[in-house]
C-alpha cells in the first residue's frame, strides 16, 4: 500500500505562515491535483512531502510509515520541478542515469534503463547533448524521464507546465495522463491552472492560504462547490457572482430579474451571493420560463473557435456567458439579446461566510 497521508502540516517562514492545518490523503495509484493560486502553499507542501522543507508541525505518512523526519535521500519518491532543474554540466544521458547510479545499479543495467526511458519519452536523439541545448519540450521530457527512471512509488510535480508555451502544455497534459496510465504510479500534481487540475486530476484539492479547503472530483467541485472560493477557483470562464437577498424562505431576488426565484436553503432577508456559471446561461427560447428571462446588451465577444464567450450588460451588471460558435456568429456587439437560466443551476453562498447554502441541490 503506497498511499500518502498528510496531517496537520504547519510551516512558517518568519512571521509568514506558509502551511497551516494542511490535511489530505492520496490513494495508491491516484492522480491527485493541488489547485491553488501562487503562494497558497502548493510548492511548500510538495517540498515538505519530499523532505526538502522542515516542518514546524505535522506528519507525513507514506506507505503506512511515518517519514516526517526521514532524510530526503531514499524516500522512494521523485519530483519534477517548475524550472526542470536539469543538471546543466551533465549530458542528458548522465542526467537520466544519475538516480540509478546513486541507487547503485551496475553500468549495464543503467544504460539499459536509460535507453528504455529515453525511448518512452522520445528523447533518445538528445542523449549525448547538454540540457541547455534542448528545446523546452525536450527539457521537460528529460526532467520527467529523470523523475521516473527509478520507478518511484510517488511522483511529485510542481507546476511542471508553467514554463512551456500553450501548445506544448496541451501535449504534455496528455503525456502526463498517458504516463500515469502506463506506469501506474501515484502522482501528486501542483498547479495554479484549473484547466490542468480538472483535466488531469482524478481528485483535486483546492488550496487557500496554506490549507486544503476542499477536496473532490473535478465534477463535484465544478457542480457543487462548497463555498464561494472553490466556485471561483474552478471553472472557465469564471463564475458570475451576483449580490442578492432572500425575499422569503427558499426564495431569492436576482439583481436583473423582476421576480424572485426558488432558492432552497435561503432565509428571508438573508444577504447572499449567487453564483451562475457562464455555461448555465442560454439564449431564451419558447420553452424558457418567463420568470428567469431577461434582456441584455452584448458588450464584448471573445471567439475561441468552437465557443464564444460573451460579456452581456444588463441593468449595470456585466455577466459572462458561453455560446456555441455557430449561434454566437449571428450576434453582434451592441445587440440586445434575450437570455435565461434555470434557477436550479444557481449556486447560493452566504454573503459573509461564503459557504454554500443549497447543499441538497440535485442537478
Amino acid at each position: 500500500m503506497s498511499d500518502l497521508k498528510v496531517q496537520n502540516l504547519r510551516r512558517t517562514f518568519g512571521s509568514v505562515v506558509a502551511l497551516e492545518d494542511m490535511n489530505f490523503d492520496v490513494a495508491e495509484g491516484e492522480f491527485f491535483c493541488l489547485l491553488g493560486p501562487s503562494s497558497s502553499g502548493k510548492t511548500t507542501t510538495l517540498r515538505a512531502i519530499a523532505g526538502l522543507e522542515e516542518l514546524d508541525n505535522g506528519e507525513v505518512t507514506f506507505a503506512g510509515q511515518d517519514i516526517t523526519d526521514d532524510p530526503v535521500q531514499g524516500r522512494g519518491m521523485s519530483m519534477i520541478f517548475q524550472t526542470f532543474a536539469l543538471y546543466p554540466h551533465l549530458s542528458v544521458e548522465a542526467n537520466l542515469a544519475h538516480p540509478l547510479r546513486r541507487a547503485g545499479l551496475d553500468s549495464q543495467s543503467v544504460r539499459k534503463r536509460v535507453g528504455e526511458v529515453a525511448e518512452l519519452l522520445r528523447v533518445t536523439h538528445t542523449l549525448k547533448r547538454k540540457p541547455t541545448t534542448l528545446s523546452g519540450g525536450e527539457q521537460q521530457r528529460v526532467a520527467i524521464g529523470r523523475a521516473i527512471v527509478q520507478q518511484p512509488k510517488l511522483l511529485l510535480l510542481d507546476e511542471p507546465l508553467t514554463n512551456l508555451d500553450a501548445k506544448l502544455r496541451h501535449d504534455m497534459r496528455a503525456e502526463f495522463k498517458r504516463l500515469h496510465r502506463e506506469l501506474g504510479m501515484t502522482m501528486l500534481y501542483a498547479t495554479p491552472d484549473q484547466l490542468e487540475a480538472l483535466t488531469m486530476g482524478e481528485r483535486v484539492g483546492v488550496m487557500r492560504d496554506g490549507k486544503v479547503v476542499a477536496i473532490g472530483t473535478p465534477r463535484e467541485l465544478y457542480e457543487t462547490p462548497q463555498d464561494k472560493y472553490v466556485a471561483e477557483m474552478v471553472g472557465s470562464p469564471p463564475i458570475n457572482f451576483l449580490t442578492a437577498t432572500g425575499t422569503a424562505d427558499d426564495q431569492t431576488s436576482v439583481p436583473f430579474l423582476d421576480h424572485s426565484v426558488a432558492a432552497p436553503g435561503i432565509k428571508q432577508d438573508q444577504p447572499v451571493t449567487l453564483g451562475l456559471r457562464p455555461h448555465d446561461i442560454a439564449l431564451a427560447n419558447g420553452g424558457s420560463p418567463a420568470a428567469t428571462r431577461f434582456t441584455g446588451k452584448i458588450h464584448l465577444t471573445e471567439p475561441l473557435g468552437d465557443v464564444t464567450i460573451l460579456d452581456v450588460n444588463t441593468r449595470d451588471i456585466t455577466i459572462k456567458m458561453v455560446l456555441r460558435e455557430e449561434v454566437a456568429a449571428k450576434l453582434s456587439v451592441g445587440e440586445d439579446i434575450e437570455i435565461s437560466f434555470d434557477p436550479k443551476d444557481l449556486h447560493i453562498f452566504d454573503q459573509s461566510t461564503g459557504n454554500r447554502l443549497n447543499n441538497d441541490a440535485g442537478k
Binding site: 517540498r47 526538502l52 519530483m79 524550472t83 532543474a85 554540466h89 544519475h98 546513486r102 529523470r146
Partner: protein, 289 residues
C-alpha cells in the same frame, strides 16, 4: 537581447581601428619594458628610444649570474629562489583562499545565519582600509609569533587578504545557481557532500577560475607586506626587483626590464590558459541565460 552578438572577425573597420589604438596605448609600456630587456645598457639609455637594435640576452643572463665588479668572478644570484618564492607563495595562498572562500561562500549562500549580511559586511571591512594602516600591528604580531620571514607567515597573510574578496565573489556565483538543481540531486539520492562537489562546484568552475586569476594578480604584484615580512629566504620578486635599484652601478635598466619580463610570464600563462573561463566568470550573472 536586442540583437545578436557580432560574429568574431566581423566587427568592421571602425571598431577594429579603435580597439587597436586603445590596445596599443595600454600595451605600449609593457612593450617598451620587454624591448628594453633585450637591449644593451647603451641602447636602453638612448634618447630617443631605439626601436631597432641588435638584441642581446645578456640582461637575462645577469638576472641569474652576476659578474662581480671587484673580483671579476661570475656567481649565481638568488633570483631563481625569488621566482620560486613568488610562484609558491602566490599560488598556495590564492589556492587556500579559494578553498576556504568557497566553503564559506556556500555556507553564506545556502545556510544563512541570523545576521548573515552583517557577517558578510564585517568580512569586507578588512578590505576597506589601506593596508599600510595595519602594517605596524601586523609587523609586531609577526615579530612576536615568529612568523616574520617564514613562508607560513606571508602565505597566511596573503590568504587572509584574499578570503574576503573570494567569499564575496564566490557567494555571488552560488547565489546565481538554481537551488532546485541541488534539491533534485538530493532527491535522486545524492548526499550533501556529493551535492556540493558534484553539482554546485562544477557549475561555478568559470567563476572560481576568474576569482583565482584576480586573486593571483593582486597577490603576485603585492610589494608592501612582502618588503616588510619576508626574509632573505622567502623574498618575492617584487622585493628583489626593488633591491636592484641603487647598489654598485646605479639603476641597471636592462636588468630590471629582464626581471619584469620574466615576472610577466607565469601570470600571462595562467591568464591565457583560463581566458575562456575568465570571460564567462566576469560576465557571470550579468548576461541572462
Amino acid at each position: 537581447m536586442a540583437r545578436k552578438y557580432r560574429e568574431i572577425g566581423k566587427a568592421g573597420w571602425g571598431y577594429t581601428a579603435i580597439t587597436t589604438i586603445v590596445g596599443f596605448i595600454y600595451f605600449s609600456p609593457v612593450f617598451w619594458i620587454i624591448l628594453t630587456a633585450f637591449k644593451t645598457r647603451r641602447d636602453a639609455l638612448a634618447v630617443p628610444p631605439k626601436l631597432f637594435f641588435t638584441p642581446t640576452l645578456d640582461n637575462f643572463m645577469s638576472v641569474f649570474y652576476r659578474t662581480s665588479i671587484t673580483t671579476g668572478n661570475s656567481q649565481a644570484t638568488d633570483m631563481g629562489l625569488y621566482f620560486f618564492n613568488s610562484i609558491f607563495i602566490a599560488f598556495t595562498s590564492v589556492g587556500l583562499a579559494i578553498i576556504l572562500g568557497t566553503l564559506a561562500a556556500y555556507a553564506f549562500s545556502r545556510f544563512p545565519l541570523k545576521g548573515n549580511d552583517t557577517y558578510l559586511f564585517i568580512i569586507l571591512t578588512t578590505r576597506m582600509m589601506p593596508p599600510i594602516v595595519v602594517i605596524i600591528p601586523i609587523f609586531l604580531m609577526f615579530r612576536l609569533t615568529g612568523l616574520a620571514g617564514s613562508y607560513w607567515g606571508i602565505m597566511l597573510l596573503y590568504t587572509a587578504f584574499n578570503i574576503p574578496f573570494s567569499v564575496w565573489l564566490i557567494k555571488s556565483f552560488f547565489d546565481e545557481l538554481n537551488p532546485e538543481i541541488e534539491d533534485a540531486a538530493r532527491m535522486d539520492g545524492s548526499s550533501e557532500r556529493r551535492v556540493f562537489f558534484g553539482f554546485c562546484i562544477p557549475q561555478i568552475l568559470a567563476g572560481l577560475a576568474a576569482t583565482f586569476v584576480f586573486g593571483l594578480i593582486l597577490t603576485w604584484n603585492e610589494f608592501l607586506f612582502a618588503l616588510l615580512l619576508t626574509g632573505v629566504e622567502t623574498r618575492t620578486v617584487p622585493v628583489a626587483m626593488a633591491r636592484t635599484l641603487g647598489g654598485e652601478v646605479g639603476v641597471d635598466y636592462g636588468l630590471l626590464a629582464a626581471i619584469v619580463t620574466l615576472f610577466l610570464i607565469p601570470i600571462f600563462f595562467v591568464t591565457f590558459l583560463l581566458q575562456n573561463q575568465l570571460l564567462r566568470g566576469v560576465t557571470f550573472g550579468t548576461v541572462k541565460k
